[in-house]
Assembly symmetry: D2
Homo-oligomer: 405 residues x 4
Amino acid sequence: MSDANKVVLAYSGGLDTSVILKWLQDTYQSEIVTFTADIGQGEELEPARAKAIKLGIKPENIYIDDLREEFVRDFVFPMFRANTVYEGEYLLGTSIARPLIAKRQIEIANQTGADAVSHGATGKGNDQVRFELGYYALKPGVKVIAPWREWDLLSREKLLAYAEKAGIPIEMKHKAGGAPYSMDANLLHISFEGRHLEDPKAEAEESMWRWTVAPEAAPDAPEYLDMEFEQGDLVAINGLRQKPHELLAKLNELGGKHGIGRLDLVENRYVGMKSRGCYETPGGTILLKAHRGIESITLDREVAHLKDNLMPRYAELIYNGYWWSPERRALQALIDNTQQYVNGWVRVKLYKGGVSVVARDSKDTLFDQTIATFDDDGGAYNQKDAEGFIKLNALRMRIASHKRG
Amino acid sequence: MSDANKVVLAYSGGLDTSVILKWLQDTYQSEIVTFTADIGQGEELEPARAKAIKLGIKPENIYIDDLREEFVRDFVFPMFRANTVYEGEYLLGTSIARPLIAKRQIEIANQTGADAVSHGATGKGNDQVRFELGYYALKPGVKVIAPWREWDLLSREKLLAYAEKAGIPIEMKHKAGGAPYSMDANLLHISFEGRHLEDPKAEAEESMWRWTVAPEAAPDAPEYLDMEFEQGDLVAINGLRQKPHELLAKLNELGGKHGIGRLDLVENRYVGMKSRGCYETPGGTILLKAHRGIESITLDREVAHLKDNLMPRYAELIYNGYWWSPERRALQALIDNTQQYVNGWVRVKLYKGGVSVVARDSKDTLFDQTIATFDDDGGAYNQKDAEGFIKLNALRMRIASHKRG
Amino acid sequence: MSDANKVVLAYSGGLDTSVILKWLQDTYQSEIVTFTADIGQGEELEPARAKAIKLGIKPENIYIDDLREEFVRDFVFPMFRANTVYEGEYLLGTSIARPLIAKRQIEIANQTGADAVSHGATGKGNDQVRFELGYYALKPGVKVIAPWREWDLLSREKLLAYAEKAGIPIEMKHKAGGAPYSMDANLLHISFEGRHLEDPKAEAEESMWRWTVAPEAAPDAPEYLDMEFEQGDLVAINGLRQKPHELLAKLNELGGKHGIGRLDLVENRYVGMKSRGCYETPGGTILLKAHRGIESITLDREVAHLKDNLMPRYAELIYNGYWWSPERRALQALIDNTQQYVNGWVRVKLYKGGVSVVARDSKDTLFDQTIATFDDDGGAYNQKDAEGFIKLNALRMRIASHKRG
Amino acid sequence: MSDANKVVLAYSGGLDTSVILKWLQDTYQSEIVTFTADIGQGEELEPARAKAIKLGIKPENIYIDDLREEFVRDFVFPMFRANTVYEGEYLLGTSIARPLIAKRQIEIANQTGADAVSHGATGKGNDQVRFELGYYALKPGVKVIAPWREWDLLSREKLLAYAEKAGIPIEMKHKAGGAPYSMDANLLHISFEGRHLEDPKAEAEESMWRWTVAPEAAPDAPEYLDMEFEQGDLVAINGLRQKPHELLAKLNELGGKHGIGRLDLVENRYVGMKSRGCYETPGGTILLKAHRGIESITLDREVAHLKDNLMPRYAELIYNGYWWSPERRALQALIDNTQQYVNGWVRVKLYKGGVSVVARDSKDTLFDQTIATFDDDGGAYNQKDAEGFIKLNALRMRIASHKRG
């Protein structure tokens, strides 16, 4: 079992991917390249380097990259241009990070002459699909190793035993018994699965949540934000222009403080099963509302409806792992085309878990007060036009009703 | 100007429709039939009868109907089966009431031998379209009189002068100057337009809101509700089975108490302009969340996605006034077909303007813990299947990448 | 390798499925039940019985069913109600037969207490998916055996050697060298794949086609047909009412005579590759045109457009094998709902490979000559209504143009 | 009745628009600018100049433009990139010419300082909408004069009387009694409406058709064409590179010779009625087939399906007159994005009214013979992958079937 001479492993430095690292060495006798990315998960990355070295990885084979700016600029923001929501609720925090990791992993494979890539996602989830569709789309001949689908370390006990034998340090929390939540974090969200969440009729424990205070513990006074957009992307908060990832970090801080962006969901995985997940997406939740707010005055009606019609499909593509597909790119061309005039500002109110739009304006607004007014409009709009409009729109139904009774 | 011998007027008893009543008598010399419906707007209807009599309407020409049950059962609930939201935000509270009023008005026209119908909606709004598409679809030869498009009483002053001259009593509030909000209420919502809302960059005044307390003024303790569904419709709250309209009234009460369901929106009208509206939909906001919650465990993935794909179109149809169209009926056939197994209960938490789903269960659940578990599943799911699944889904992209570099 | 005590095999009586039969006995030591269906492929079925007996199948384990009526009534006609075409061209002749075979095979499994089913489709094609999705949807615990994915008889030579060893009679044509076309036939079509069709830049050989004469060889005089529809289904040809499958057989005869319904296509398979197929669908090609013809005068515009919008998705579901899925059923509910008034007759002209609609009428027609006329219509339609219709439809674009130049 | 100081009239030089010219002078006392375009209708344009001068138009107010190249390059070809068909049949020959005429008319209005535009379309048809939506989108403050909706010359007799009085020469054919067909021609098609076509159950007369011979009269030998595409657009026929409009003219000639592209249709107009039209689109019919043919080997499956899903909406936009809308432009961005690799050649066979694709090839083909082959593929495709693919695609249905029986 081989033909994987050199493997680029998506390596977090945690227990699972350390076991995978070892297992790849044992099983494939491959040279291992580790790749660790900062996408805003909020963990120190240098310990991953130390750990990799300890596990025998050559220094030149250790890649640690800060991808936060690219992540938000080229993945999160383009997705938010479409007001993307999966199954009416989920903001796709995990889904949108995977294509970037896959892309960078393939770049490293090309740089290092690796013929294989590997990841730590299980055989039941969506992430394996998202990683591997990315790998195959970007490097069609690559060998993909998904240890969770190959090995027999399927129970926690076996995994820990393997780690112990391999000399991988095991933190107290892992020994403390009870499977941990399966978590994933990046600048857009943190997610939780597993443990007692596997019972959809049980409420999530308050202690599980990490990024947001409980709405009950949020400040008693609301806070207002002014958010400025250019071509559909957030560019400033309260007048301060920052880079995309800095802005999202700021929104996370504010949203977290006000208990915004918690979600408890049973969703449909691409692999065919339902699963229950909990998510904290404080900044994204604010951003979505605000983006809809600025679009509400700057987008043409039919363009807005076209986007709403296509959004579920676009969300599905991202959820299922098709970021690098030609159909996602074609949809993106449409979406980006619509954002030209999505400029202006939106004022949102944050309070105890809620975010609401209370005001908005734009130099490119399509709101026309002289026409919309209830007062006399001086002839800007001819009310008599409505009669013909209605009559012709009704005509087909009148004919049908007349002919068929 | 005639051929309107008998006119059925949608009559609220308020100033505007009273002026219309008089104006119809003056202009068309028609016999007038008044129709006043209780759809949960929360106003006494008997004063409308007295006022109609005072304006010379024959007692047998006065129709006052309690349509609350029919409204919620046959219009609101079918709409919620589709998780219907217009432009990402609006729950269609006004839109969904119009088709029922149009239908009943036409029934009365048929009963009384009237050849015309009339309403008090202006020539700038959506409601004229919704009323008239209903009229024409149900009685193709009917004459429709829309006074706001015909008369010259376009300013507040002229209207009051006409009323005075006609002996129509004018309440203090009308004289007090300043145009009032344009409001519409029924069991699903209350809406506000006009006045300073015509400036989208100004926040709505707290004093405007009627049905909900401000989130800041809501109770400091959250409240939990258990909501039970059968075939997609709510049937009980906290174990108490009630009729649809009673359940919705209960949700309104609870939502209002907790500050739930306020919305401030710039929306796109069917007649081509943007307008700013504020809405309070306390019960509907809770119902939407809960319905999505019960569907999350009982609907097949592809069915759920198909519904999500069609929902914007369905919402647009209702918003634009096409409830009685054959395409709305065809979509309803699909939607209703999907609700067969949407049975079970959902627990929601209400707190300071927010509503969230925290638990759900169903005898018809498609959530399969033995498959979804992170623990050893005893072979219920073969992780190796994922490899072939991914490989074939990736195949077209691999071929393209291979051939085109 | 077992747990397949009794296997229901979709058995054609041909070489391949005979080898499969033998291979199943050898490999799984299973009792075999053969199932052979007449779906109009135009072959004698009794030889299949004789052959099965010769291969050791017990008489009570041999099922030979005439499914032609059910096939056309419950599968072909419902599909044609949607004007279903895959990728703009393909009439889904193979796709629509698979769900019926899967259903009947599972019924037989249930009757005979079989725990497994098997088919002769390869691992590269769509048919394996169509069969197996049907099996799993209808009998979730069934074991599926797909010999082409399991065995090592992947070349023609190995297959013939196995047959010879097993005493399976081999006809001359098989020995004559050169792979035959891969063909599939039923009442809707006959298809061809493989051989030199694998080169998409080479024209198909005239000798390949079976059901249709070349247009060049068709009669020099056109032939006219009157086709009568009720609720979207064909019920009579030239005044003769017949059963669905008899009507389709008649259309095949007429279409074949006039060279109608040949198609040469490169299509996208569900498993991810492109493949080139040639099809003869004489009756279906006529039926599609005629059904569109009757809908053109009896369907409401928006209903027709809704159907056109959903059709590609519906076609994809059938092509990919999801006939028994809940989403196909939901779409069918919509489609069937639209066919209530699709009644009337259509006259088509058949000539040298072409079919065209030349006339149509219906008691339920929505064509209104008094309104459509270019002559004076006596006021049935008020041309002035068009002004308001256009003005309001243009309003959003005027505002945008005015504001943005 | 005025505020139309200078009017740009879409002027054909025929009887109707000559009467309109005179009527505009009489009614509005406006200065008239005539605009006559060559979009391939196959008529001499210089007589229009002479006639305009005779009717008193100043030479500098006469615009005669050859728009054929722009028409095909910027309107017809972009539309064909989407395989655009309205209601399953109609190739939109009239619809696609109107936006160009509207655009040019507005350009002339801007150049000449005209404040109004006028056209000769009636108040019952689609063309008024197409013209006027274009006018309003491109020059929001323009005054639009639609004489057919304003005047009382609604019968043929009144029109002729007016012409006679105004000294407009009337050709014999107009006097000969009987309303003529309403025809429209350009490089893409010629259309016929009116007269006995108003009876949908009567076959069109053979003598009506102009551009195509009857299939029965076409050559007895088929003709083959090689058509070459670049980025989705036709660039050469039989190896000869020409400009778009020259290529389309060549296809019209060939299609006409072989009786290709006749269509007899009842279609749904945007103004709410059904109407019967006959069309000859010889070149477009060939082009559509060939474009689908080249896409079949060069487009990714999901991209092709996405296009098929959006096409009916795109066709509806063009049919209804929304070429200049932002939603059409957004869709075009998507469509154009997909055509990057749509390069290669297609061989079509023309014979007696039929056109069929018989071969195709491309340097960018996605057809992969090594994978598609029925022969041993040497491991290019692993048939075992299909098992996992099917199992996971079936999983949701298995769970449902298992749980709900």
